[in-house]
Amino acid sequence: MDKKFEDLTITQDGQLLLEKAEKDQVETVWQRLQAQQPQCGYCDLGLSCRICIMGPCRVDPFGEGPQKGVCGADADIIVARNLCRMVAAGAASHSDHGRDLVEVLASVAEGKAPGYQIRSVEKLKQVATEYGIDPEGKDVLPLAGELAQAMMEDYGMRQKQIKLVSRAPQKRRDLWEKVGITPRGIDRETSEMMHRTHMGVDNGWQSLLLQALRNALSDGWGGSMIATEVSDILFGIPAPKPTTVNVGVLKKDQVNIIVHGHNPVVSEMILKACESPDMIALAKEKGARGINLAGVCCTGNELLMRHGVPMAGNHLMTELVLSTGAVEMMLVDYQCIMPSLGTVAACYHTKMISTSDKARFPGMEHREFHPENAEQMAMELVTEAVNNFVARGEVYIPVEPVNAVGGFSVETIIGALGGTPDPLLDAIKAGKIRGAVGIVGCNNPKIKHDYGHVTLTKRLIENDVLVVDTGCVSVANAKAGFKVPEAIEMAGPGLKEVCGSLGIPPVLHLGSCVDNVRILVLVSALANALDVDISDLPIAGAAPEWYSEKAVTIGTYFVASGVTTVLGPMPPIAGSMNVVKLLTEGLNDVVGATFAVEPDPEKAAVLIRRHIEGKRKALGLASVDV
């Protein structure tokens, strides 16, 4: 096998499918990255501005060419504005995802969403209470309707503060008030961010970045949090379930359907259709043993968390899973779906279906899902997928799937701890567990696929740091075998002992990217239990291979919430040393946490451990020098 594939990914299924893709003359994301080289330095530095057409402008980092845009914006302003727009885009994406779920909730309340239902009445009541709605004596559906209305209020400007901000520890909320970044409305903050970055509005690079913190918080404690909670209400609170990951989850003798994208409003309906006896019977008629539903990316993770549905891969695997030739249909909704997929699928028999009115793709057939028609549409599409089984050509599924356990919602974790976070806190105090890290984010072909995630995870658990993961990281770590009880053998002695006694793996699979808010809820619970602020906890965040605007927003709301976060790839900020300094040092004085950039996961592990030990020391806990 050509050595070069080993340079691109650490995963065996990735290497083998890269070889297959080359043989099949399929172009992949890696080739397109190479063709783009050299990528423009102005843009990489954040020093190019296209916001108005007095431009486009750039600032010469070498000091001789222009130092200001046509409007007079200098490097600090240009870099800050560009970063702010990334935060706005990320926040808008997550918030829209939440919005669609709220709409389904409202439709369910009105009885206009056949196939959908309230699966967790418990969560419905809990969240309703947080919204100031007394669930006592109310029927489920009307309660759901009231909650949906209240959540819609969170999106607008009628409120002073997004409701679920109240979940954060008091100290944190006081800090946000003091700094002036308490998020007021989900759409409002994004809208104001777009306004501020218009030419001639906010030209204070610090005030721009403060709004970015607020905008990100409107996502983390707003849009994303609503998304996760409503998903739990509609589809159930995740509980640990065994599952499998990597391309080997595709089955040679079954109809394979892959869901890709983000919103469980689509993937849950597909799952339902796949489980219908009629569909399974049809599949058998066509010569298949059954219907095998698998996921990629976040919508796959939503199904994994709630139903144990297996996952075929993460972001950089989305093209490669198609070159197995084993996929009858891939259904997508929105976010992180490469527009190249239609071209890749055209090399095989795979049908590509787009489902969201917000998201069209070249080479995909558009079949729109709405709450009213989702159940019906899902049955139609699964029928077509089953019928496509006979069109299969050669199938190449070169690996066996890896076992994993997912489904670690906060409720599950607290449950596993016996009902309170105390056992975990005791372990931290005793130093058996040094601290915890949330490793989150995407893949990026600029970093060897999954190398950043798996290496960082390994080094942390080896050193008794508990790891929780979401998104593409969670798939990478599952593929690496970290998510089975036996994986405690890879952990340090303290972590091994604690996880062993609780019967949990050393790396906890927390779900999709909107489920990053589960980390916020968890650390809030820990902070409250210790009566400290989130920024005092021996914790950190990391995004070793991020690529998307959503990741910028997540990282920003982590930091704004007090969790120091280490990024692998550098964001486009190097063009302004002021911005770099603020984000990597100055923010500590503002929110008690900062960003760091470290592409090498070995070094990132050391950085994080040093940070954790520092927090331990400040809390008066036993600490070591790293």
């Binding site: 692998g568 790839p569 550098m570 090498d600």
Partner: protein, 196 residues
């Protein structure tokens, strides 16, 4: 005589020089209309990616003696002594690629061009913007480069500046010598990523 000098450490890979060069060698010499021409004009300078994906504007050095001139089977490559420029005569060119085989820098391309007879593929390379210079303009690539990677100056001036830079670097630390801390930071991050 002024000539185009390349300062590789300042190239940010934006490829503006390529757009300007293609436009300067189009028929209409305006970028928007150039894009609609047949044949589509093409750049004579080529920004390539280095080992760390840094940019580099690769252009003809107008060597003397020019290996392409020596190797040309058709005698289509000549030197214009007035501008010290090596030029390809598109009418004599037979598209044999012997010049590309001889060029140690890889700056020659083969395509149809408005300077060549219609429907004929010929060898095309940098002409020092001789037409622009005759009009009192400077080469197009230099005009658009905002980072100082391409300059138009007497070679003695460029060399004197380089001499001064080298002299200064001997008496100071490397950090102080960075032309741009921002660009150095970006380059370091990119290199770290690539070496993983």
């Amino acid at each position: 005589m002024k000539e185009v000098t390349v300062h590789p450490e300042r190239c940010v890979g934006c490829m503006q020089c390529m757009i300007a060069c293609a436009t300067a060698h189009s028929q209409t010499r305006q970028v928007l209309t150039a894009l609609m021409e047949t044949p589509l004009p093409k750049s004579r300078v080529h920004v390539g990616a280095g080992l760390y994906n840094e940019g580099f504007p690769n252009r003809c050095r107008h060597c003397n003696p020019a290996p392409c001139m020596v190797a040309c089977l058709a005698g289509a490559i000549l030197r214009d002594p007035e501008r010290d420029t090596v030029l390809v005569n598109p009418d004599k060119c037979i598209n044999c690629a012997g010049c590309a085989m001889a060029c140690p820098y890889g700056v020659i391309r083969f395509h149809e061009d408005s300077t060549a007879p219609p429907d004929k593929t010929v060898a095309v390379k940098c002409d020092n913007c001789d037409q622009r210079q005759a009009e009192g303009l400077i080469p197009a690539c230099v005009e658009v480069c905002k980072s100082g990677a391409l300059t138009f100056e007497e070679s003695t001036d460029a060399l004197k500046r380089k001499t001064d830079e080298v002299a200064r670097s001997v008496s100071r630390g490397a950090e102080e010598m960075s032309l741009s801390p921002a660009f150095s930071l970006l380059t370091a991050a990119k290199r770290a990523q690539l070496s993983l």
